[in-house]
């Protein structure tokens, strides 16, 4: 998981069941990825139509070479990292012993003048 994708400040709980917080975020990531894939497919279709090159059969029978296999696997691993980033966030908070009470304390301290 990419540790640069962690946000300092306890992530809020939105639902009674914490799993629902994971799920809603994961659905959003899936929606994002599907949308990106549709855009890429659209690009492919438009370019193919212009050049009259790629056919559905060719796409069906395409066998990826080693470099492509590696590229696709790397992309999928990044995708999975995004999908589960909300759990990575929670894990980082546990490691840093971060808490909702510290979050609340920061808000109070900034408002009351305890923090410069």
């Amino acid at each position: 998981m990419n540790q640069h994708k962690v946000i300092k400040g306890k992530r809020p709980a939105f639902y009674e069941a914490p799993e629902s917080d994971y799920l809603m975020h994961m659905v959003m990531v899936l929606a994002q990825e599907l949308s990106a894939t549709r855009d890429r497919l659209d690009t492919l279709e438009k370019l193919s139509a212009q050049k009259n090159q790629v056919t559905a059969e060719e796409i069906e029978s395409y066998t990826p070479d080693q470099a492509t296999l590696e590229e696709r696997e790397a992309r999928r691993q990044v995708f999975l990292g995004n999908l589960f980033s909300v759990m990575n966030q929670e894990s980082a908070e546990l490691k840093a012993r971060d808490s909702k009470s510290r979050f609340n304390q920061v808000i109070d301290d900034i408002a009351s003048g305890k923090i410069d």
């Binding site: 994708k5 917080d21 990106a36 923090i115």
Partner: protein
């Protein structure tokens, strides 16, 4: 849909901008679409749930409607539509930054080279050793931007500015114009139109981040020397190269607006854009006092930021207060509850020389800068009413203005 037009705003390219590969861009476009949908289509559902079942439920136990944002939250906290809205909105913010990070991590080495090759425009960058970042900036990652304004310690100094530059464009849904500069441009126009005889020769932008709002001053007041300070080394460093790349001379410096080392009476004009709500109860009065010290007699300070809560209904207050709790904006609500006029009086400005006003959005004047900023879209934007939870204000930016006595 409150809008009949599709938002296809696109950010202008410049030598330091990182947008990533085709998939990164598609993911970023998705976030822009998602945020647009949340603001235009989901928010009305939220408001309806509040006005119907939440208010009715609250009335049963309290025998009156919620009176302020605290009561509104009590009434609404358990509502499933409200909870879904909050969690989707939070995820959209996370996806926004993460989709930009992927592009930056792929291109950071190239960005370093681009910075070295950027043509010189006459600006400077000053970083003092031993600078201490205020805790109100470092305790939470503001806007949920990973690493915060100052960025993680194990990355290039250009990383966080690049993340902010692209991320903010998506966050603002392009409403800040193709160069993310609408706030600065709007305040420049406001000054030119309301103070036609005021010709500043020295300008300071406080809390400049990467200089989005700073550059219009260099463009529209070419006779003036433009200085810009921020507490983030990463932001001013990226801002310097961005400004040079865009051909505008700005003097960037790592400095805290509470206490700078510029001599007394250095500037004709001191501005800030969405800075004050990122500070603290203690810092804001110090910043106003520093403005008083740094202004020449007759000089003007203008802070473009958030209107006070006073005149807003409890629901609007609540939606805005969400930024504090769900978007890591620690001073957002407390700042709105602070009397800014009184703070300026205490800093030495005369009460009759201080006022709030609205600086009309300059976006109409950006038409033609790029294909996606069509006349219809810009007109629709300027015609909007202010709606809590949407990014851009209706029509204009709130400004606090104070002139130093001659």
């Amino acid at each position: 849909m409150t809008s009949s037009l599709l938002n296809t705003f696109q950010q202008n390219e410049h030598p330091m901008l990182v947008v990533g590969d085709a998939d990164d861009r598609a993911r970023q476009e998705f976030v822009k679409s998602l945020k647009t949908y949340i603001q235009q289509d989901i928010l009305p559902l939220v408001q309806n749930a509040y006005q119907t079942r939440a208010t009715a439920k609250f009335n049963k136990t309290h025998e009156h409607d919620p009176k302020d944002y605290r009561e509104a939250r009590e009434a609404f906290a358990d509502d499933p539509i409200f909870k879904a809205y909050l969690s989707i909105n939070r995820s959209s913010q996370e996806l926004q930054w993460f989709s930009v990070i992927d592009g930056i991590e792929g291109e950071i080495a190239e960005l370093e080279k681009k910075a070295e090759a950027v043509p010189k425009a006459g600006g400077t960058l000053k970083i003092d050793e031993g600078f201490v970042v205020p805790k109100y900036i470092s305790e939470l990652d503001i806007h949920c931007m990973p690493g915060g304004y100052c960025g993680p310690s194990d990355v290039s100094k250009l990383y966080t500015g690049a993340l902010y530059d692209r991320g903010v464009y998506i966050y603002a849904l392009g409403y800040m114009g193709p160069n993310n500069d609408d706030m600065g441009r709007s305040v420049c126009n406001y000054i030119s139109r309301n103070y036609p005889d005021f010709k500043p020769t020295s300008i300071l932008d406080m809390g400049c981040t990467v200089g989005h709002s700073t550059l219009p001053y260099a463009e529209l007041f070419p006779e003036s020397e433009v200085h810009a300070i921020d507490v983030s080394e990463a932001c001013v460093t990226y801002g310097h190269y961005r400004a040079e790349g865009l051909g505008l001379p700005v003097h960037f410096k790592l400095a805290n607006a509470e206490k700078t080392d510029y001599p007394d009476e250095s500037f004709d004009l001191i501005v800030s854009h969405i800075l004050l709500h990122e500070t603290s109860k203690n810092a804001m009065p110090k910043i106003f006092k520093e403005c008083m010290r740094l202004l020449k007699p007759g000089g003007i300070m203008i802070h473009a930021d958030l209107p006070p809560f006073d005149d807003m209904d409890p629901y609007t207050q609540l939606i805005l207060d969400n930024e504090t709790w769900y978007n890591n904006e620690p001073f957002w609500t407390a700042m709105r509850n602070t009397d800014q006029i009184e703070t300026a009086v205490e800093a030495g400005f005369k009460r009759e020389d201080i006022k709030f006003d609205t600086a009309p959005m300059a976006i109409m004047e950006l038409i033609g800068q790029s294909e996606s900023y069509s006349e219809d879209m810009a007109q629709e934007l300027t015609d909007r009413e202010f709606t809590a939870g949407e990014y851009a204000p209706g029509g204009g930016w709130e400004v606090l203005i104070a002139q130093k006595a001659v």
